[in-house]
Symmetry: C2
Subunit: 185 residues, 2 copies
DNA sequence: TGGGTCATGTAACCTGTTACATGATTAG
DNA sequence: CTAATCATGTAACAGGTTACATGACCCA
C-alpha cells in the first residue's frame, strides 16, 4: 500500500527496470520508506498483473537482459487517485520501535539507560551527517525543467529528515539530563 | 517483532486478559505502535504456543469468561534479551507514508499542495492537543513504587510525541512558506 | 429498543523480511 | 584470483490489516 505507490510514482517519471528502480528507490524514497530488492520485484509483477504497468525485454549482449516497465494510463490514474486522497489516520501515526524499548526501561539500571540514549543520539548524529549531502545529490539528478519542479518536493522530504533527526537529538539530550538528575536523587 | 514485545512487556507488569491488554495497549504503546484487536489475540496465542506465556480461564457469572495470561520465566528472559539487544538499523529508520506523497507532489498544483500541508499541520496540532493530557493520565495509572519508577520512562515516550508533533508543525510551516514564495515567482 | 461494554476470536488477505539461487562480465 | 556489478527472481515466513461472528448484559 506504499512501496507500491513509491514504485508507481518513480515509473511515472519514466521507464525503468526492476534493477534500476531498486537503485533509484534506495537513493530517494528509501530514506523514509524501506524496501527489500525482493519486494520490488514482487510489487512490479503484481502491478503488471492488474494492468498498472506493462513491460518489455531489452536484450543486451555483454550483460543480462533487462525487463523494462512502463506505467499505463490506468496506473497513472491510480497514482493520482492515491495522491489526491484525503488524509488517512495511518499517515499521521508514529511508528517507532525504539519507543517500545524506552517504555519498558524501568526494569533496567539508570546507567545502562543513559548509555542507551547516548548511543541513540550518536546514531541520529551519524544519520544527520549522511543526510547533509542529499541536497547536492538531488541537484545531480535534475536533468530537465520537469525535474527542476519536482526537486522542490524531493528536497522537502530531505528537509524533513533534517528536522527529524535534530528533534531526536534534542529529545535524547533532555532524556539524558533527566536521567543524570535522577541518578543523584 | 514489536507488537509482540509490547504485549510481553505489559504482561511483565502483571497478568492480563487479551481484552485488558487491548485496552492497556491502546492507552499507552498505541501512541507509537499501532495494533488491531485481532493481532493482539493472535500474538497471545502464538506466544503461548512457544512457552513465553501461560493462560487460565477466569469464570464469571454475569459476563463472558476471561482468558488471563501470565508471563513465564522464558518469556521474561526473551523480553530482557530484546531490551538489552544492540541497536538495529530498523529502530533508527523513518517510516513515513506522508513523505511518499510529498515526494511526488511535483505533479500537482501549488495551491493544492499548500492546502495539503495546512491540513497536515492542523492534524498535527489536533494530535498535540490530545497528547497534552497524557502526563496527568500516566499519573492515574501509577499504583505503587514500581509504577512510579516506570512512569519516568512512560513519560519519556509522551515527551517524544510532544517533540515530534511540534517538529512536524515547524516543518509544515517552513514548507508552506516555501510554496507561498514559489507561487509569486 | 437501540447502542455501548464485556469478551472471545477466525478467515482471508496484503505487506514486508530473510535467505537463497544463478551466472556472466569487469576492474583491481 | 577475488570482489563487485549487472540482472533476474523464488520460497518460506512473519507481521499487520480488514472484515466478520457471537452473545449476554446494562443503561438511557
Amino acid at each position: 500500500m506504499s512501496a507500491k505507490y513509491g514504485l508507481l510514482g518513480l515509473l511515472s517519471y519514466g521507464d525503468q527496470s526492476g534493477y534500476d528502480l531498486n537503485r533509484t528507490f534506495s537513493h530517494s524514497i528509501n530514506n523514509f520508506w524501506h524496501t527489500q530488492t525482493s519486494q520490488i520485484y514482487k510489487e512490479l509483477t503484481s502491478m503488471e498483473k492488474v494492468g498498472w504497468l506493462t513491460s518489455h525485454i531489452v536484450y543486451q549482449e555483454d550483460k543480462p537482459n533487462r525487463k523494462v516497465y512502463s506505467i499505463t494510463e490506468l496506473g497513472r490514474e491510480e497514482l493520482h487517485k492515491w495522491l489526491d486522497k484525503d488524509f488517512i489516520e495511518k499517515e499521521m501515526r508514529i511508528r517507532n520501535l525504539f519507543l517500545i524499548k524506552v517504555f519498558f526501561l524501568g526494569e533496567n539500571k539508570i546507567d545502562e539507560n543513559i548509555l542507551l540514549f547516548k548511543e541513540y543520539k550518536a546514531r541520529c548524529e551519524a544519520t544527520l551527517n549522511r543526510l547533509e549531502k542529499i541536497d547536492s545529490n538531488i541537484e545531480k539528478f535534475v536533468e530537465n525543467e520537469k525535474d527542476r519542479n519536482r526537486s522542490l518536493y524531493w528536497k522537502m522530504t530531505a528537509r524533513y529528515g533534517d528536522y527529524y533527526y535534530k528533534m531526536c537529538i534534542e529529545w535524547a539530550n533532555e532524556m539524558i539530563e533527566i536521567l543524570e538528575k535522577e541518578k543523584t536523587k
